[in-house]
């Protein structure tokens, strides 16, 4: 509840004190922040009768001086320029400016300079600068996510902007939670180190007054890690509801766009999957596909009962009762059709791409040993005609990540087969992945074959057998969280920034993954939090990845790296 409630509180405070008809003006990033936690009907209740984007407002010429304008934008130079223009020709009765992050003094000067008509009533900083999709999971929705994979010399200004945005997002999160953390980072990642150090500088030096909150008995922990330490999780196919929807169709700001998948009636083309608003989704978002099917069937049966009783209208009382319950009935109907549509479409995709077959091999590659058997399985699937290109690529990548050092001949054979089978495959992509996230670059024990404890655990698991072959994978994050819970996160691998020090175990941990998180990891965090171990974990990233997005980032980074090397 924490993240969603903080953003809602900020918005409530913004709108509460201003009476009368209001117009809310957002920019392209804050519109996501606001839409994901606040609904249109709630805005209407607060007398916000118009919502506009700051870009289109500049163009329009209508004067609406009976409205009070509430601006909620990021303090970027672009937005400041647009605000200048609007303040010079004010269209609204009052202007209340709320910025989602820290304002520089120069920016305040610029605004004050252009405010000749004294149209601005207040200027505030309300730190809701992240997209809070789930109670313990946030993202920054950053567009050029691939920059973290490149060394700083390739695009220094781009990387600086990237790093600044991340630092701003993390700072806003901690300001919303009113905490100042102890910071640790992953040693092997330059980007993570840079971000950790700049965050520390911001919180402890530049704005130390602002971050000077009441100390609790143990400081919270901010852990900055890199996606490349666990490249396996974004490549795997998912079988739990929320993760599966994102993997197969795509979940953006808790919205699903089904228009590309199938032709559907108008009210099912775009749907909302939010755990806050949909009770069925909340109880099923982390369940696996088989259980979801059963639960949906139960929901449909319940609904049919209600529908049948509604058709059985005989007396006036029945009619009256029907009209009374109609809004709830309509809502239930909408919800049922939404979930049925989603599950139907996903089943179709699973069937078409033979994902049951592919995913079994994927899970074996990720979790179990046996190089020879793995090679056979992957070769079989590469030869299988109905397997799509992207699935072939993923299989080879997973194999390469696991058996990078074993049997290079067979690895080469797989590369060649992949190149010959997939015409659109960009050559060298798998090698690029190995260069970025290969066994030398990784800190954590991704496959459980370095640490003796992990090897033993894997053997035990192999002997015991797993409940469900398709969900046996645990993301590396799970091990990291366990280490933190036991207080055994190694200083060598995850050093502290500067002279920070943590006594005992932290009670709140924010894990920020540079490069993006996945819904499988957010599920892991939610389940960990539900065990009430005394530590509350919050997960965040620069984006929410599925395999398509991860591969896109890799390709983009590879393209830039190649063109950069030509220039050298």
């Amino acid at each position: 509840m924490v993240l969603v409630t903080s953003v809602r509180d900020y918005i409530n405070r913004m709108l509460h004190d201003i009476s009368g008809m209001k117009v809310l003006i957002l920019d392209s990033e804050t519109v996501s922040n606001v839409s994901i936690v606040y609904s249109q009907s709630e805005l209407l209740q607060k007398e916000v009768f118009l919502v506009e984007m700051i870009d289109s407002i500049s163009v329009s010429k209508e004067s609406m001086s009976h409205l009070k304008a509430v601006y909620f934008v990021r303090p970027t130079s672009d937005n400041i320029q647009k605000l200048r223009y609007q303040l010079a020709n004010p269209r609204f009765g009052e202007h209340h400016l709320f910025f989602s992050n820290l304002l520089k003094d120069t920016q305040i000067h610029i605004l004050a300079d252009s405010d000749e008509h004294e149209a601005v009533q207040q200027v505030q900083e309300f730190y809701a600068d992240f997209v809070a999709g789930d109670p313990y999971h946030f993202t920054l929705n950053m567009p050029s996510n691939h920059l973290y994979m490149l060394p700083a010399v390739v695009d220094p200004s781009g990387l600086q902007r990237y790093s600044d945005r991340v630092v701003d997002g993390i700072a806003a999160l901690f300001l919303a939670l009113k905490r100042r953390p102890v910071i640790r980072y992953q040693r092997t990642s330059d980007t993570a180190k840079r971000i950790a150090q700049e965050t520390a500088k911001l919180m402890y030096q530049h704005e130390s007054g602002l971050f000077d909150f009441r100390r609790t008995e143990s400081s919270p922990l901010l852990l900055v890690i890199d996606r490349r330490d666990d490249p396996v999780t974004p490549l795997l196919n998912q079988w739990t509801y929320q993760a599966m929807v994102h993997e197969l169709i795509g979940l953006q700001d808790n919205k699903v766009d089904l228009r590309a998948i199938a032709s559907l009636p108008k009210d099912q083309q775009e749907v909302v999957l939010s755990s806050e608003q949909d009770a069925f989704f909340k109880s099923n978002m982390y369940e696996n596909f088989g259980d979801i099917g059963m639960n949906i069937k139960r929901m449909v049966d319940d609904f049919q009962q209600v529908a049948k009783s509604n058709q059985n209208i005989q007396t006036v009382e029945d009619m009256a009762r029907f009209v009374d319950n109609y809004p709830e009935y309509k809502k239930m109907q909408g919800n049922v059709s939404k979930h049925v549509t989603l599950v139907t479409e996903m089943s179709k995709l699973v069937e078409a791409r033979k994902l049951m077959l592919v995913s079994q091999t994927e899970q074996d590659l990720a979790c179990n040993g046996g190089q020879g058997a793995a090679y056979e399985a992957v070769t079989d699937l590469l030869n299988n005609e109905s397997v799509s290109d992207i699935d072939r690529l993923r299989l080879v990548m997973l194999y390469a990540l696991r058996y990078e050092k074993e049997n290079p001949v067979q690895l080469m054979q797989l590369f060649n087969k992949l190149a010959s089978r997939s015409p659109k495959y960009k050559p060298g992509l798998v090698q690029f992945l190995l260069k970025q996230a290969g066994v030398e670059k990784r800190t954590g024990d991704l496959f459980g074959n370095r640490d003796l404890m992990n090897i033993a655990r894997n053997m035990a698991r192999g002997l015991k057998g797993v409940e469900n072959v398709y969900t046996q994978h645990q993301p590396l994050l799970f091990q990291t969280m366990e280490s933190i819970t036991r207080g055994r996160l190694r200083d060598v691998d995850y050093p502290f920034v500067g002279d920070h020090f943590q006594q005992g175990r932290p009670q709140e941990v924010v894990i920020f993954m540079v490069g993006g998180t996945t819904y499988e990891e957010s599920r892991s965090v939610a389940l960990q939090n539900a065990t009430n171990s005394g530590i509350r974990f919050i997960l965040g990233g620069t984006a929410v990845l599925n395999s398509k997005r991860f591969l896109l980032d890799l390709e983009e980074a590879q393209r830039i790296a190649r063109s950069g090397s030509h220039m050298v």
């Binding site: 009368g20 839409s35 249109q40 009768f49 004050a112 200027v123």
Partner: protein
């Protein structure tokens, strides 16, 4: 949750900039700017005083910098809001009247029932009037910010009206149910009383006469109850109609239509659509046959005039 107020810093800068600018722009728009700064200086510095958007009327146009008269439809929405408030007050009265009418009394409580009837009637009237007014808010003309604003105001008022109608229906149905229970109970009590009364009478004729009179009275009472129930049902049906109309306007919560970003996207796409339609309309009008005829006629007229002049000049 932490926030930081930058208003004082901002104001300081703004005043500094103004004083830096003031000696330069002396004569140009002086009185306007002074009136502006004067009116704002009056407002409290630590908090902001919301400026009134209700202008008293045409006399305010003398003021150099007014907030501006709100457009006409705002009157409609304000009246509906006022009606909604009145309805809420009357619902409170209705609840009291209901409980009073349902209390078992010795005399007949027709007076109370009339009060209930009157109140229900008034409330239904107000709701119906508000609903009709609500349709005035519907936009005509192309999509624009103003029309979007009106649509949202309409939606919000529709939601309020719908919840009020539902509340009224619920109250009425409980009243109805309790009324029916009472009617059955009362009839039962009446008959029992009659039975007992019969025993004490000796004269059969008188008894029979008495019984028929009692029965007739009982019938009369139940007929009256029937009538009341029918009336309440009638108003229930009215409300059902209002609700049906309103449900078309109200947003379903939790669906995609309730998302702010979806609405913004749709506005921009519908604005684009509207723009394209306007362009097409302009083009068809320009190429219209009527326009062509008119231009041809005009040209012919000019030629005739020229020929006329030439004829006069040459002869």
């Amino acid at each position: 949750m932490a926030t930081r107020n930058r208003t004082t810093v901002y104001r300081k800068h703004r005043d500094a900039c103004k004083s830096a600018r003031a000696p330069l722009s002396d004569s140009f728009g002086g009185p306007v700017i002074e009136m502006v700064s004067g009116s704002f200086a009056r407002s409290n510095h630590s908090s902001y005083a919301p400026l009134s958007t209700n202008d008293p009327g045409p006399s305010s146009s003398d003021d150099a910098f007014t907030i501006g008269l709100p457009p006409a439809w705002v009157d409609d929405s304000e009246e509906i809001t006022f009606n909604i408030q009145k309805v809420r007050d009357k619902m409170g009265e209705l609840a009291k009247a209901h409980s009073k009418a349902l209390m078992p009394t010795f005399g007949d409580n027709r007076g109370d029932q009339r009060v209930v009837e009157m109140l229900t009637h008034e409330i239904t009237d107000l709701l119906r009037k508000s609903e009709k007014r609500l349709h005035n808010l519907s936009t005509r003309g192309g999509p624009s910010q103003e029309s979007n604003l009106r649509k949202n105001v309409q939606r919000s008022l529709a939601t309020d009206l719908q919840s009020l109608s539902m509340e009224l229906r619920r109250k009425q149905s409980t009243y109805l149910k309790r009324l029916q229970q009472q009617k059955e109970g009362q009839d039962g009590v009446d008959l029992e009383f009659n039975m007992n009364g019969k025993m004490s009478r000796l004269d059969e004729d008188e008894e029979l006469g008495g019984m028929t009179v009692k029965l007739k009275e009982g019938q009369h009472v139940s007929a009256e109850r029937e009538r009341e129930i029918q009336q309440v049902l009638g108003s229930v049906n009215d409300l059902a109609q209002i609700m049906k109309d309103l449900s078309a306007l109200v947003i379903d919560q939790g669906t995609i239509v309730d998302r702010i970003d979806y609405n913004i996207q749709n506005v921009s796409s519908s604005v684009e659509e509207g723009y394209k339609q306007l362009q097409k309309a302009e083009r068809t009008q320009r190429e219209g046959a009527m326009v062509k005829c008119a231009t041809i006629l005009l040209i012919l007229c000019l030629i005739m005039i020229v020929l006329l002049i030439l004829k006069n000049v040459l002869f």
